[in-house]
Point group: C2
Chain length 210, copies 2
């Protein structure tokens, strides 16, 4: 409603618009979302919305930037150099899934929606590549006695993929953060334990947990 535009500080109004945009983008997807719908959700006039954010693309980009910053703040404690590499990985998992749980729409927009848009996908893909590299390094530093030939990069790809799928379950309210952290933590190390030399050729995988 245009009538609802009270005199608010610019910063407050910006956050309200971004909140509304994240909400509508996560519900309808980027292409189905109109500036009208976001203006209605934010209880602001459409001209005002365009005044602050020149286009839907620009508004979407602002959403990604804000949510991306929140995400980084959530995982930052993992960078504490006093933690062991294993503690760092676990702290990162807790930060990541805690963020997803607390900001379920953000995860939708920041990740699933943004990856579907060519204009934004490469930025997100690059960030994702850096996360995979970092994960591979943490795994490598921790597994001091890993078998030679262990491909930490590939294990990291698998762990991050598992993490994304589990994050969707967390965002959907189907799994608790603590349980998710334990599962992914176990998967990462057990996955490494499974990489015996020559396993890639000889399929040394019949030792079931029985």
């Amino acid at each position: 409603m245009a009538g609802g535009t009270k005199r608010l500080p610019r910063a407050v109004r910006e956050q309200q618009m971004l909140d509304a945009a994240v909400e509508v983008f996560s519900r309808k997807g980027f292409h189905e979302t109109s500036m009208d719908a976001i203006a209605a959700e934010a209880e602001i006039s459409k001209p005002m919305l365009y005044l602050y954010y020149g286009s839907k693309d620009e508004l979407f980009r602002a959403c990604i930037q804000r949510e991306g910053l929140r995400f980084l703040e959530s995982v930052a404690p993992a960078g504490n150099p006093l933690l062991s590499p294993h503690e760092q990985l676990r702290t990162a998992l807790e930060g990541f899934l805690g963020f997803v749980d607390a900001h379920r729409n953000s995860w939708q927009v920041l990740y699933r929606q943004a990856l579907g848009q060519q204009a934004f996908a490469s930025e997100i893909e690059n960030a994702r590549e850096r996360v995979i590299e970092l994960t591979a390094k943490l795994l490598e530093s921790s597994a001091k006695h890993a078998e030679p030939g262990t491909n930490f990069d590939i294990v990291a790809v698998a762990v991050i993929g598992a993490g994304e799928a589990i994050a969707d379950s967390v965002a959907a309210g189907r799994i608790e953060v603590a349980e998710a952290v334990d599962l992914l933590d176990a998967l990462a190390w057990r996955g490494l334990a499974g990489r015996k030399p020559g396993a890639a050729d000889t399929a040394e995988t019949d030792k079931l947990p029985e």
Copy 2:
């Protein structure tokens, strides 16, 4: 080129159009793809393309249907009742990743592109849910002595998520199918082995492979 429309059987021409569509969709994404670009790629006139497939949506849907059927054919051998549940899972992984390796553009279109479009996402999501359920059942049938309280559904979500990420690496030519199958196979069983009773509360994850 409109001049290139020789007299071909309808079925052949349809396949050529779908080949061209999959190629262009995978390269440019759904929204950036024009019917002009697909017609050019198929060396056919745009009116002819519209005659066969009434709209870009319809053409995209036809692509998904064809690639989906190919995908099902690839994993069908896993349904052989003479295989043990573990062999079934492994055969499914081989079929799945073999398909991705042989049809790299299909994977892009069928999965990453389709999931980004609201109109198609729910269909793909439903198929994905069924795959997760089936995976959970195979894991449960195989792990005869799994600890009580093991949440097979969540482990299946993680395994499928890891599988999707690994499939992207296979499609990008960064990992061999055989190595990918071994890793995912190991992750699935080791992930189960990691689910000790109470692990969700007590974080029994410090036993690193050292």
